[in-house]
């Protein structure tokens, strides 16, 4: 069954969407949308690292994404507004990554695959990495759920209950880096943040508790993944952007329904 490239593509898209959407809820709740973007853009630096030093791709991207998270943490609280620091870092990382890839790769390589994903090129070991990453992310969210939620609500409230908010925040950063590393093959650097944010935002309109929002986000993310793949197949459009377009349509639908119910 896994020998069929469409099956592999479907499983890859599903795996990424199922991990990204619930994590995306935290990204939305904590107003980390730009942070997600910056981490995703740093992935292209990871690609350069991997090409330049002949390292395996996924660990190289993990390192780049975590380095970006560290840089954001350091710059934040140095007198710049968060969105300014992130704007500087996200675009610098993307540009530097693109330049570095061009300099480091012996032959001129096609960057489209990294920027927009290459889901039809997913092989069995990619699939293993994607589902492994999804397992790690969902496991972490499930294990730390209450602590993460309390720390998201208010760090001091978490402290008073004996939770270290910085540790929880680090857990989220780690999960974000993992999602970025496994999602690059599916939707590419430019659209990873969309898979985090759009399903979560779409789920918000119809839900009243954080748990319901995370579950609906996962459902909407999975629907977008499979729906987008199908659209891409039928209309012969690029897969990553098609997935994001379906997610955007779902966002419009839930927002309208939510507005009507109010």
């Amino acid at each position: 069954m896994l020998d069929d490239f469409t099956t592999r593509a479907a499983l890859a898209a599903l795996g990424v969407a199922l991990a990204a959407a619930p994590l995306g809820c935290f990204v939305v709740w904590r107003r980390m949308a730009y942070f997600g973007e910056a981490t995703a853009h740093a992935a292209i630096l990871g690609v350069a690292l991997s090409l330049g030093l002949s390292l395996p791709m996924v660990p190289a991207i993990l390192v780049a994404a975590l380095a970006m998270a560290g840089a954001v943490t350091i710059l934040n609280g140095r007198g710049h507004a968060m969105d300014t620091s992130l704007g500087v870092l996200a675009h610098s990382a993307l540009a530097a990554g693109l330049v570095a890839v061009a300099l480091l790769s012996p032959v001129r390589i096609d960057l489209t695959g990294y920027l927009f994903g290459d889901i039809l090129g997913v092989n069995k070991s990619d699939l293993l990495v994607i589902w492994g990453g999804m397992g790690v992310v969902l496991g972490l969210l499930f294990w730390r759920w209450s602590a993460l939620l309390t720390a998201t609500l208010n760090p001091d409230l978490a402290r008073a209950s004996g939770i270290d908010p910085r540790r929880e925040e680090f857990g989220l950063t780690l999960a974000l880096a993992v999602v970025v590393a496994v999602a690059i093959k599916v939707v590419g650097v430019l659209l990873i943040a969309a898979l985090l944010i759009i399903p979560a935002a779409a789920a918000r309109a119809l839900t009243h508790t954080p748990e319901a929002m995370a579950m609906l986000a996962a459902l909407l993310g999975a629907t977008s993944a499979l729906g987008g793949l199908w659209v891409a197949f039928v209309l012969d459009t690029p897969t990553g952007p098609s997935i994001v377009c379906v997610a955007a349509v779902l966002f419009v639908l839930t927002t309208v329904i939510g507005g009507l119910r109010r």
């Binding site: 998201t152 001091d156 918000r204």
Partner: protein, 279 residues
């Protein structure tokens, strides 16, 4: 300064006796605590013991480190020197000064109360009832009014059956009767669950009337003691002027005859009280 605490008022209630009796192990202690935030010395050499069942109010001008002190007690700010002593597993109820819930985060009152530990529906209902917010369980946190929100925060702080309750300007956004009710509730709580309470407030008169001890903070501890003693302390008057003393007298002067009434103010209730005083 124990001698400042020996003022026994007939009007004071239960918890105070606990303070009066032989030295008990403090619920929490700060020892020579200093805190620096972005190069600014916010607190220096603060040493405070909080006894079980004691209600302590911290007053001080803006930027005097009141909130920072509470945050230091829960371990949320790094200390530059000194330390906080508390028994392992101390249950702390904390009502922060500001809690902005992002509208992107859907959160019912019931769910909020079960954070971080799941609590039975019956217990949730009981703490809402105690905080006077019985009907709010199914509402979204974002839709609550200021007063309702404060009550829910208090209900959550009570969930863990705290041994220490920390209230950081808990009556913000409440009107005068609202905050008076809130502090009555606080005194009831101390009586019912016997927790120590440390609160920061700007409602000087109401709060001080409900306190066993007042700590006047301005980076360091300017003075501390019973409300009467602090209110007449020169350090306190230097910070707040003598105007607030009139307001304090409004609530306390049945038990205190030491302060002067030579200032004038036009608060109607004060006038009324002063008439009785004269008669």
């Amino acid at each position: 300064m124990p001698q400042l605490r020996t003022n026994t008022d007939a009007g004071k209630d239960a918890g105070k006796d606990i303070v009066m009796t032989a030295p008990v192990k403090p619920v929490i202690s700060a020892r020579d605590v200093s805190v620096r935030i972005r190069g600014q010395q916010v607190l220096h050499d603060i040493s405070v013991d909080i006894s079980p069942g004691e209600i302590v109010t911290i007053v001080g001008p803006n930027g005097s480190g009141k909130s920072t002190f509470l945050r230091a007690l829960i371990g949320a700010v790094p200390l530059t020197s000194g330390h906080i002593e508390k028994p392992a597993g101390l249950r702390i109820g904390y009502v922060p000064q500001k809690l902005a819930i992002d509208p992107a985060l859907p959160m019912t009152v019931n769910r909020f109360l079960s954070l971080p530990r799941r609590i039975s529906a019956a217990d949730t209902h009981a703490s809402l009832a105690r905080a006077g917010a019985t009907t709010l369980g199914k509402r979204q946190m974002a839709d609550l009014s200021g007063g309702q929100f404060q009550r829910v925060l208090l209900a959550r702080a009570l969930q863990e059956r705290p041994q220490l309750l920390l209230l950081d300007e808990a009556t913000q956004g409440l009107d005068q009767p609202g905050s008076a009710t809130f502090y009555t509730l606080v005194e009831e709580l101390r009586r019912d669950i016997g927790c120590a309470i440390v609160m920061v407030s700007h409602d000087l008169h109401v709060v001080m009337a409900a306190s066993d001890r007042v700590i006047c903070l301005n980076g360091h501890i300017c003075c501390q003691g019973t409300p009467e003693i602090v209110a007449s302390a020169p350090q306190y008057r230097a910070l707040f002027g003598s105007g607030t003393k009139g307001a304090l007298a409004l609530y306390r002067h049945e038990h205190s005859h030491s302060h002067d009434h030579d200032h004038t103010h036009d608060h109607p209730m004060t006038t009324m009280k002063r008439t009785t005083d004269a008669g």
